[in-house]
């Protein structure tokens, strides 16, 4: 947290930024506490107890985070690489085609992608990951391409004119300058993945979606409120983390 504090203190309106950084976690903590107290006042039957115990909740939350983290890691690697390749001059022809393909991935409803994968492949953790990757690929790809294309041509020309190789220009000029926009894309993808990962339960990938689904089918409001509440808290927390990462990783001077 020290880097964060330093970054916050350095920037304009340090106090205001610190406040912004810490409002969300405090709010989420309070929401979690409220949820805990609410569940504590209820009389739980055996079905509810099976879902609402620390072990199950932690295990399902961990699974949800795992699905989101693994899929995001994979999609970042793939989409950023693709984005870089598609913005090189030699890829001018194929880039509309690839973007069209990525569009299909996002246009098809996520539950449809999951079902489709379950039918043609199998169920479980990895099919769910593949679905999540397909679903969030476009937002990172698009942002990577936009981020790279918005880099001022004169900056690139100056760099080339001073004798930087194309690779050096990419890594030292283009990518750093595209970082803010790429990070925004990654943040979107991360949120999409946390949300969509709850649907993973339908193809046996586990996660908090399992409790939510059970609660709906068995008509257990307490479980439904608790599991959805935790999901929402996790999603908001991940979004907050990504926001902080955006601030810290954005190159200075921009």
């Amino acid at each position: 947290m020290t880097t964060l504090q330093k970054a916050a203190a350095k920037g304009p309106g340090g106090a205001a930024r610190l406040l912004r950084y810490f409002t969300m976690p405090i709010f989420l903590g309070l929401a979690g506490l409220a949820l805990y107290l609410y569940v504590g006042t209820q009389d739980l039957d055996s079905i509810e107890q099976r879902s609402l115990n620390a072990g199950t909740l932690i295990q399902q939350t961990a699974r949800l985070l795992e699905l989101a983290a693994v899929s995001t890691a994979i999609v970042v690697t793939l989409a950023v690489t693709t984005g870089v390749l598609l913005t090189r001059p030699f890829a001018r022809r194929v880039s509309p085609f690839v973007i069209g393909l990525a569009n299909i991935g996002q246009a098809v409803p996520s539950i449809g992608v999951l079902a489709l994968l379950a039918i043609i492949w199998s169920i479980g953790f990895w099919p769910c990951i593949v679905a999540l990757v397909a679903y969030s690929f476009l937002s990172i790809l698009r942002n990577t391409m936009v981020g790279l294309r918005q880099v001022d041509r004169s900056i690139i020309e100056a760099a080339r004119g001073m004798g930087m190789t194309k690779l050096a220009v990419l890594f030292r000029i283009e990518l750093p300058l595209a970082v803010p926009i790429i990070l925004a894309g990654i943040r979107t993808a991360l949120i999409i993945n946390v949300g969509t990962a709850t649907l993973g339960t339908f193809i046996g990938a586990g996660g908090l979606g399992e409790s939510i689904n059970n609660a709906i089918r068995l008509d257990r409001t307490v479980v439904l409120v608790a599991a959805s509440g935790v999901t929402a808290i996790v999603a908001l927390f991940v979004d907050w983390l990504a926001g902080v990462a955006e601030d810290v990783l954005r190159p200075r001077g921009l």
Binding site: S154, I155, I156, E157, A158, G161, G163, L177, G253
Partner: protein
């Protein structure tokens, strides 16, 4: 220093060549300005020198070495490059921006750091700016950093593409003067592109006026282009008042000052009268204790009058410094009382007087005088007439 041989560039999917069979020799330590109407191919020509644009055919020699086929990235590290948009890296500090080429060349940290300090001093930017970012600088400061960055690894050649194009006129004028002063010290070989003939005249040791497809209309010193334009195209391009423009090329220190009686404000009336009688002039210039010009007094004003000298006559206001160009000197003169201007040195001390007649005389004798002044030792063996005129004729024959 730089020799372009039969350079041609045809862009893909274009029928007409952008640059057609251009040959040009650029001498060491000179500023050569490529000037011409928009779309004439001057920028393309310049960018072929560091091969940002690869020539379709022809050859480029740098310091006698054929660099048409060498690794372009390595070539560019030997050539400074300044563009109109400057193109500073916004995510890097000023120091990191300047260190770009030294780092690529593998300089030691200490050497790079020392060089950054040295360059910041050279371009007149405070060292405290080292760790700032480009967005914190003004346009003029960014431009200076752009020049510093281009000179970082001390390349013998600088390419400048309308470097002062996007800057307000007042700052531009100052940056131009600064750059010319800097060039006095560093003596780089500079290829400078502009569409502004006045900038070309001011900056260039030699000007290449380019027509469509980078055909050379005239390649010569500014003086010769103004006095002896090769054809109608050049004449049109120079525009009106070539003789007046020529005046901005000579400094008042280049011409002889007139003999003028001076006295001191502390002298007695008799001494001043005596001074006046000893010359044919009807006015005497009075200097104060610091040798600074004080007042003009005429004979009739002190003949029968005992007004203190500090109050008689008129204050001396038409004052120019020795390095002022003749254009500005003449301007001062026209608005002055006696049609003359007082020259002072850097400390404001009296150094002489010029009047209309002296300037006219100087203009008439300027031609041979300038030839000597502009012949640099490096090209001493080549008769000067050859370099400009023959190349130009050669370009047209082909």
């Amino acid at each position: 220093m730089i020799r372009l041989e039969d350079l041609t560039k045809v862009f893909p999917a274009q029928e007409e060549a952008a640059v057609d069979d251009l040959s040009l020799e650029i001498y060491e330590g000179e500023i050569v300005v490529l000037v011409g109407p928009s779309g004439c191919g001057k920028t393309t020509t310049m960018k072929m020198i560091n091969r940002i644009i690869e020539p379709t055919s022809g050859r480029i020699f740098l310091q006698g070495e054929d660099v048409t086929k060498v690794n372009p990235d390595k070539l560019r590290r030997r050539i400074g490059y300044v563009i109109q948009q400057i193109g500073l890296f916004p995510h890097m500090t000023i120091a990191d921006n300047i260190a770009t080429v030294p780092r690529m060349l593998g300089w030691e940290k200490k050497r790079t750091s020392d060089r950054i300090d040295e360059l910041l001093e050279t371009v007149g930017i405070d060292l405290s700016y080292r760790d700032r970012y480009p967005k914190e600088l003004s346009g003029g400061q960014r431009q200076r950093i752009g020049v510093a960055r281009a000179m970082a690894a001390d390349p013998p050649v600088l390419l400048m593409d309308e470097p002062f194009g996007a800057i307000d006129p007042i700052t531009r004028d100052r940056l131009q003067d600064e750059f010319l002063r800097l060039q006095q010290e560093i003596r780089k070989t500079i290829v400078f592109v502009t569409h502004d003939i006045d900038e070309a005249i001011k900056m260039g040791d030699r000007i290449a006026i380019l027509k469509h497809q980078s055909k050379i209309a005239q390649y010569d010193t500014p003086e010769r282009i103004l006095t002896d334009p090769a054809d109608e195209f050049v004449q049109d391009f120079i525009g009106s008042g070539p003789s007046i423009k020529r005046l901005s090329l000579s400094r008042v220190s280049d011409i002889e000052t007139s003999d003028w009686p001076v006295a001191r404000l502390t002298d007695s009336h008799d001494e001043v009268r005596e001074k006046m009688r000893s010359t044919s002039r009807d006015h005497v210039l009075l200097l104060d204790e610091q040798e600074k010009p004080g007042r003009w007094v005429g004979l009739e004003e002190i003949q029968h009058d005992d007004t203190p000298l500090e109050e008689s006559g008129r204050p001396a206001v038409a004052i120019v410094e020795a390095n002022t160009n003749l254009y500005d000197t003449l301007d001062t003169m026209i608005t002055s009382y006696k049609g003359s201007a007082i020259i002072v040195d850097e400390g404001g001390r009296y150094a002489g007087v010029v009047d209309f007649d002296t300037v006219l005389e100087a203009i008439n004798t300027m031609r041979p005088h300038e030839r000597d002044r502009h012949m640099s030792p490096a090209e001493g063996e080549q008769p000067r007439e050859r370099t400009g005129q023959d190349l130009q004729a050669g370009g047209e024959e082909r």
